[in-house]
């Protein structure tokens, strides 16, 4: 089946099997390997991307369901060689170690701040409940998201 989607601002048209998961299409069909697969049960969130601006687990969406959608992957966040404020906040706060959960975690965090621009510690934690990290104990991830929320606030002020 032929599908067309806008991925990181660029229109991409491809032929896919109906059973192809969006994450496999992104990784293998489009060659964007920043989005990772960490589980089989929609639990870990490593595959999180933005679909029409909202976080989704791309392992639980068929590529054909995303036909016509606007998809942003981790590769699409940086602008003009500058990392997105969320990416910068993750680096500043040591919000990643091995980095495997990181693309999904960052995308989930970006989506969270779209919906809750100034979250509390608890709201950040609940907002990331669908993303598992084995390295950081989440402490610095939460700090990074709160930091990014602060800088968003300053930027908007």
């Amino acid at each position: 089946m032929r599908i067309t989607m806008t991925v990181n601002g660029r229109e991409r048209s491809s032929e896919v099997e109906p059973r192809t998961l969006l994450v496999h299409h992104i990784r293998e069909g489009l060659g964007l390997t920043g989005t990772n697969v960490g589980c089989d049960t929609s639990s870990c969130g490593a595959c999180t991307v933005l679909m029409d601006g909202e976080s989704v687990k791309s392992c639980t969406v068929l590529a054909v369901q995303a036909d016509g959608a606007d998809v942003t992957t981790i590769e699409g966040l940086a602008r003009d060689g500058e990392m997105h404020p969320m990416q910068q906040a993750f680096q500043r706060n040591h919000g990643l170690q091995c980095g495997f959960c990181t693309p999904g975690m960052v995308m989930a965090a970006v989506s969270l701040l779209e919906e809750v621009p100034h979250p509390t510690d608890r709201e950040v934690r609940l907002g990331l409940e669908g993303n598992l990290c084995r390295c950081t104990g989440y402490q610095n991830i939460v700090a990074a998201v709160l930091d990014a929320a602060g800088s968003t606030q300053e930027a908007g002020a």
Partner: protein
């Protein structure tokens, strides 16, 4: 350097911090000790980093493994022909088909005793399968989808045999898993120092506690599943093996041996690796299969693990029954510790399976001054996935047992858990301390770290609140748990490893090379997978050579670039690998000094080296920068007689001792008696890993470690059913906690440098995991003691907590149901016999 503890945050050595914030420009002062952001991060944050499954490998065939659905069965027939008829399938092989590929069985590098029993373990089972998930056949196809579709078509006939999932049943030998061995017992290892002294201590004891603890099996669950790919090189007979491994160097040797493949023609590369925690410290069937099949078919072969396969086919951690007895005098001073373990090996011995309990053997006396000790461990086979190293590997188990038992002793003696520890800590004036085991603890100040942790937690106020609330009653119970831990890490002095019958050394290699333009190249044998080595190594080198950290490149994780190394595990990278780099820098400076002296026409001993520049003492205008020396060494136009061109040094460092970090953790919980729910209200950790190279990274290691240990206490546990099926085979059933499930942590530290290395550093990668599990469990039991609870099985799930309460309440001891007990009350005996 004198080992002295400071409870301030400054570092009392030559490694003063340059400030707490990273300056916008390269700092003029030292960078060691600063919270420098990681250079690894941008690639990982933007998706540029390449994990093994991200590699584009043209023409690669995808491998999928047919796995046994039975824990224990004879394989009576395997027919791959239906799979061969499936679209996209190129080849398929049974275990028998590939038997000729193996020059040796899969390796176990740690035969802990002379008579240890180890069944031959092949990458694909032949004749019999001994755990659910054991590979019995493989399919190769043009796509992963086609390979996965085809494994369902492989026709395997099994004759099921009884599963053995209980350690007592395993020891009984009622069902012998490996018939040729005649027994399920792999080994018995004992440490006898002075048995008479132990006996005497127990005979004379005023107090004795006898405890049994169950270390449940855990799944390491690194977020990146395993993956590997073998690529034959177009010219010659070389093969490159890419693998999500912690140990490319060890894997290269072991793959060569197992396949009978020339080691010098094998290159192993670990691309970005998404966490390991010990689970990627191994030699796995799939790594051997892709390499053997690439050799056989002259084609690249790749494999990526699914999460369920990860649960079934990647090693498990822990899995021990611990019997620990403490003898103490009337004041609660411990006079002897006696330990006996039964350790679950699983179906086969993987790389270091049998040695894991031994890594803990020397830690069962904890941070206490214990004069008599004995230890024994029985390793037994079961029909479950093999166990092996999981973060801490033997040391969390040991710390758990002694720290839980110390709480039981406090209860038995009738003193506060903090007080029982104070009475037993090895005093700060006793270091270096020679333990009853003969091991020498390098440095420590256990009481200072404990005092700081208790103070931060507001311990006295918490006890007062607890006493008040117990008097008031109510369904929520406040519990406070303490764990004072230490550990032996920085594996390891090679001679000590030899005494434990380990098959390799514990050294690490480093090369530091000045490039002609003044930049620096570092080659390390350590293999990072999240630890931030590139950042930390560049900081050490920057200070030593007086160059900006960004001018230091760090090469690693590829045996072609870094041919010598012993890789990353056991909190060894900084203490062994980092120290090696520090030493290599010294040698570079020594050589540069000779060249500088030649150029400046001064005596080498008259030169000062500071800020990247040599100058003649007393004549600061006579100076030459290191970069100029590097260029001079490169051109070699004017070197001292006999001096070799180029400026580089190679060091292989074998540490003289382990390093012994320590600390005290305090956990505060609220336990809901009605639901069994546990909420962690506060968690305080004061850790001491000596001097810190990068506190940002140290804290990250501690955060992650604590949460992993807390997860053992509260969330995680492997469950097999009676037929030997793994029930917790995915992340829905195996509960790795997420952000809202864990508390915000309060960290602080003390600094007691290690006197055994020039950096004064100790390992920190596993400390959090080691310290946290007993702190959490002590808190839960502390909360529930007034209800008569003295033991809660891990994980302390609501069900297990509720069951523990029900058990306690159904016991006919009226004392146990009192709700007005206070801290230090002596009414419960903690399950011990006195």
């Amino acid at each position: 350097m004198t080992p002295a503890t400071t409870t301030e945050t400054d570092v009392p050595t030559g490694l003063e911090p340059g400030g707490t914030d990273q300056p916008p420009d390269e700092p003029a002062g030292p960078v060691v000790g600063t919270r420098r952001e990681r250079r690894e991060d941008p690639a990982l944050l933007t998706g540029e980093a390449r994990f093994t499954d991200d590699l584009q490998i043209p023409g690669a065939l995808h491998l999928a493994v047919v796995r046994s659905p039975f824990a224990h069965a004879r394989i009576t027939r395997v027919d791959v022909s239906p799979a061969l008829a499936m679209p996209g399938v190129v080849a398929a092989f049974t275990g028998e088909d590939l038997q000729g590929e193996w020059a040796a069985p899969m390796p176990c590098a740690w035969p802990v005793t002379e008579d240890m029993k180890s069944p031959p373990h092949l990458p694909l089972a032949v004749g019999k399968t001994c755990y659910a998930g054991d590979g019995v056949a493989v399919v190769l196809a043009e796509s992963n989808e086609a390979a996965r579709d085809a494994i369902d078509a492989v026709d395997v006939e099994y004759e099921p045999l009884p599963a053995v999932t209980d350690l007592a049943a395993a020891i009984s030998d009622e069902v012998v898993i490996h018939e040729d061995l005649g027994t399920n017992t792999s080994y018995r290892w004992e440490l006898h120092l002075d048995d008479d002294a132990v006996e005497r201590a127990f005979a004379d004891a005023a107090h004795v506690v006898r405890e049994r603890y169950i270390q449940q099996r855990l799944l390491p669950m690194a977020m990146e599943p395993r993956a590997c790919a073998a690529v034959p090189q177009p010219f010659g007979g070389d093969i490159t093996l890419y693998s999500a491994t912690q140990i490319p160097h060890i894997l290269k040797i072991m793959t060569a041996v197992t396949l009978g493949f020339p080691e010098h023609q094998l290159r192993v590369v670990a691309p970005s690796v998404g966490g390991g925690f010990g689970s990627k410290l191994n030699v796995y069937a799939e790594e051997l299969l892709v390499t053997a099949l690439a050799r056989k078919l002259h084609q690249p072969i790749r494999w990526v693990e699914e999460r369920t396969e990860n649960a079934l086919g990647t090693i498990h951690g822990r899995g021990q029954i611990q019997d620990i007895e403490l003898a103490a005098d009337a004041d609660g001073r411990v006079t002897a510790v006696r330990v006996d373990l039964t350790a679950d090996m699983g179906a086969y011995l993987q790389l270091v399976t049998p040695g894991i309990p031994l890594l803990g053997a020397f830690l069962y006396c904890g941070v206490y001054d214990v004069p008599a000790f004995s230890f024994g461990c029985t390793g037994v086979f079961t029909t479950m996935t093999p166990t092996d190293a999981y973060r801490g590997a033997g040391r969390p188990e040991a710390t758990y047992a002694i720290e839980r038992a110390m709480d039981a002793l406090a209860d038995e003696v009738g003193v506060d858990p903090a007080e029982i520890r104070r009475r037993n800590y090895i005093g700060a004036d006793r270091f270096p301390y020679t333990a009853v085991t003969g091991l020498v603890y390098d440095s420590g100040n256990y009481e200072a770290a404990a005092a700081k942790a208790l103070d931060l937690a507001g311990y006295d106020d918490l006890r007062a609140e607890q006493q008040r609330r117990r008097a008031e009653g109510g369904p929520k119970h406040l519990g406070i748990g303490i764990s004072s831990y230490f550990e032996m890490c920085g594996l390891a002095p090679s001679r000590v490893l030899a005494s434990l019958n380990y098959s390799a050394g514990g050294w690490e290699a480093a090369t530091v090379r000045m490039l002609p333009t003044g930049k620096v190249q570092v080659v390390t044998g350590a293999t990072p997978h999240g630890q931030g080595h590139e950042t930390s190594w560049s900081m050490i080198v920057a200070d030593k050579l007086g160059v900006p950290p960004d001018d230091v490149d760090v090469l690693h994780s590829d045996t072609a670039l870094s041919p010598l190394g012993m890789d990353t595990y056991g909190s060894r990278s900084l203490v062994v690998g980092g120290v090696a780099i520090d030493m290599a820098c010294d040698r570079v400076v020594d050589k540069a000094r000779r060249i500088a002296a030649h150029q400046l026409e001064a005596a080498a001993e008259d030169l000062e080296f500071r800020g990247g520049e040599f100058s003649v003492r007393g004549s600061p205008d006579r100076s030459v920068p290191l970069a100029a020396i590097a260029f001079a060494a490169f051109t070699a136009h004017d070197l001292p007689d006999g001096e070799e061109p180029n400026l580089e040094a190679h060091v292989t460092y074998d540490p003289p001792n382990f390093s012994w970090p320590f600390g005290t953790h305090v956990c505060v919980v609220e336990v809901d008696e009605e639901t069994g729910g546990v909420e962690v209200r506060k968690y305080v950790a004061v850790d001491d890993c000596g001097n810190q190279i990068n506190p940002l990274i140290v804290e990250g290691q501690v955060h992650g470690g604590i949460v992993q240990g807390l997860a053992q206490a509260l969330f995680e546990g492997v469950v097999y059913d009676a037929d030997g099926n793994l029930v917790t085979s995915n992340l829905t059933d195996y509960l790795v906690p997420s952000a809202p499930d864990v508390p915000s942590l309060t960290l602080d530290h003390t600094v007691t440098p290690s006197p055994t290395n020039a950096l004064g550093v100790k390992g920190i990668g596993e400390a959090g995991t080691i310290g946290s599990t007993p702190a959490v469990m002590n808190a839960i039991v502390d909360a529930l003691r007034p209800l008569g609870v003295d033991e809660v099985l891990m994980p302390a799930s609501p069900l297990n907590v509720w069951n523990a309460i029900q058990r306690a309440q159904s016991r006919p001891d009226p004392e146990r149901t009192t709700t007005s007990a206070t801290a230090g009350d002596t009414n419960a005996d903690a399950g011990g016999a006195s």
